[in-house]
């Protein structure tokens, strides 16, 4: 069967029926084949809403493609096994990378030696930029949500995510630490992590307590969107130092004065110029709503009139 003997429309239809992981591998067969894929699948690639590097408590991401309503795993990038076995080797943007295929997975597995991790991930990312086009949004999501599912053990190491510095990449981090013994020992480590990271697209943080506040200049406060679920310290501090667009706060530790001061500064434009959405959930404590509304001079909208609405895209 000679693919090139088919008319262009048939070739296009065949490629349209291939999964992205197979198209990715096909693109290495020849330069002409890569050109054909890029030209014939342009509209399909334009429909890609984002590509996600998804890390679960590891620096070995699954790479998934998101369309409007579906998601497909295209590849996984893992640490090379000690036996060094691979099925084939590909040249991605000048870097030779080993790959494995297995019956268990429907996608290829790229492998890196620990000393080569960043350069392998960078080469793969650069290949994606060229292959899928610059318009695709790329996300790196690092989570340790498994902490919530595991039985409580005192020995679990605190997970500090690995974040690569790549072109066109938005970074999203989830940090969960609900085991009391880790509260005190690791906050310094966490602060160091934020200060060494680029500005993050989103941060999800579930930590029971922090012993010290974050530095007011911490990059945590510069993230575009934060979801903070915490009993003490950080959540009220967000109301002082946050510089991003959206904040979702779950805490019990709000003084009415914190909220009044925040609302006054937001209303007057003194601070939080970029803030477009704020949600505060207070789980147990009573918040004196009327006291706060009176303090900031809130005006009531006539109940018979439809209030103006403004939609804010979720970050």
């Amino acid at each position: 069967m000679i693919l090139s003997k088919y008319p262009y429309l048939v070739q296009n239809e065949i490629l349209r029926n291939m999964k992205c992981s197979d198209l990715f591998l096909l693109s290495f067969v020849s330069k002409n084949m890569k050109k054909l894929i890029k030209s014939s699948q342009r509209n399909r690639f334009r429909r890609i809403s984002s590509i996600l590097y998804d890390c679960w408590e590891s620096d070995q991401p699954y790479v998934s493609i998101f369309y409007e309503r579906s998601r497909c795993t295209m590849m996984r990038i893992v640490k090379q096994e000690e036996n060094g076995k691979y099925d084939f080797r590909l040249n991605l943007c000048g870097k030779r990378i080993d790959f494995r295929l297995s019956d268990q997975c429907n996608y290829p597995v790229a492998m890196f030696h620990p000393r080569d991790k960043e350069s392998v991930i960078k080469s793969i990312h650069n290949y994606f930029l060229d292959f899928f086009g610059n318009s695709v949004e790329f996300y790196w999501r690092s989570e340790n949500m498994n902490y919530l599912l595991r039985p409580c053990t005192w020995e679990s190491p605190f997970f500090i995510p690995f974040l690569p510095q790549l072109q066109n990449l938005s970074l999203c981090v989830s940090i969960c630490c609900i085991i009391p013994s880790w509260i005190f020992a690791d906050m310094n480590k966490l602060e160091k992590f934020f200060s060494a990271s680029p500005v993050l697209k989103s941060v999800f943080m579930k930590v029971r307590k922090t012993t010290e506040p974050f530095n007011p200049e911490s990059k945590l406060y510069q993230a575009e969107s934060v979801v903070i679920d915490q009993d003490w310290l950080t959540a009220p501090d967000i109301l002082r130092y946050f510089k991003g667009r959206q904040a979702f706060l779950f805490s019990n530790n709000y003084e009415a004065s914190d909220l009044i001061q925040f609302l006054d500064r937001w209303k007057s434009g003194e601070a939080f110029q970029k803030l477009e959405y704020l949600q505060i959930d207070v789980v147990f404590e009573y918040i004196p709503k009327n006291q706060i509304l009176n303090a900031i001079g809130a005006k009531y909208i006539d109940a018979t009139k439809t209030p103006p609405t403004h939609s804010v895209p979720k970050v």
Binding site: M1, I2, L3, S4, K5, Y6, P7, L9, V10, E13, I14, L15, R16, N17, M18, K19, D22, L25, L26, F28, V29, S30, K31, N32, M33, D87, F88, L90, F99, L101, D103, N106
Partner: protein, 188 residues
């Protein structure tokens, strides 16, 4: 189901027989048309089944054939092997007037047969069957390495592509030179 018999494109075929398609008698008598491939075997196919093929459907609509005329002049598809045309006719009959299912598992597994079927179906413009066939062709390389894909689909390497391109340029250059020389000769 269709029946086949030996015949020629120019001669009227003998009465082909058709198996009953449904226990209930149709309210309007159905018209039938005749097609043959490279092997000249004539297939009798109902108009309903042929609706799958945009090409044949267009030919029927444009030519305004009566059943007698159609019988005397089967549509000749000399570029399609007999066994491939048989597969196409069978598929059209099986899916006559029915919504097409999302998968079709009855397609040939052999590479060369599938290749010929794709070309035939594309030529006859049978959209749904083309989609099934293309899916099947795509499945052939699912989970394969680039080298395995190259072997299955016989894709040339970069070096082979470059050599072919050079050859094509050389040929085009020679042809252009030949045309210039001929034009100069004409001018003299």
């Amino acid at each position: 189901m269709s029946s086949t018999e030996q015949g020629t494109s120019s001669a009227a075929p003998a009465e082909p027989t058709t198996a009953p398609e449904s226990a209930a008698a149709p309210e309007v008598p159905e018209s039938f048309y005749y097609v043959h491939g490279k092997d000249k075997v004539v297939h009798k196919v109902s108009a309903g089944a042929l609706q799958h093929s945009a090409l044949i459907h267009g030919m029927i609509s444009n030519l305004g054939y009566t059943e007698e005329q159609a019988k005397a002049n089967p549509f000749p598809f000399e570029n399609i092997d007999g066994d491939i045309l048989q597969m196409v006719v069978d598929w059209c009959n099986q899916h006559k007037g029915k919504p097409t299912p999302p998968e079709d598992t009855n397609l040939p597994k052999q590479k060369e047969k599938l290749f010929d079927l794709v070309l035939a179906v594309n030529y006859l413009e049978i959209k749904e069957l083309l989609t099934y066939c293309c899916k099947q062709v795509a499945m052939m390389v699912k989970g394969k390495s680039p080298e395995e894909i190259r072997e299955i689909w016989m894709i040339p390497t970069d070096a082979e592509d470059e050599a072919a391109e050079k050859e094509a340029k050389k040929r085009a250059g020679k042809e252009a030179a030949g045309e210039t020389a001929a034009a100069a000769g004409d001018a003299k």
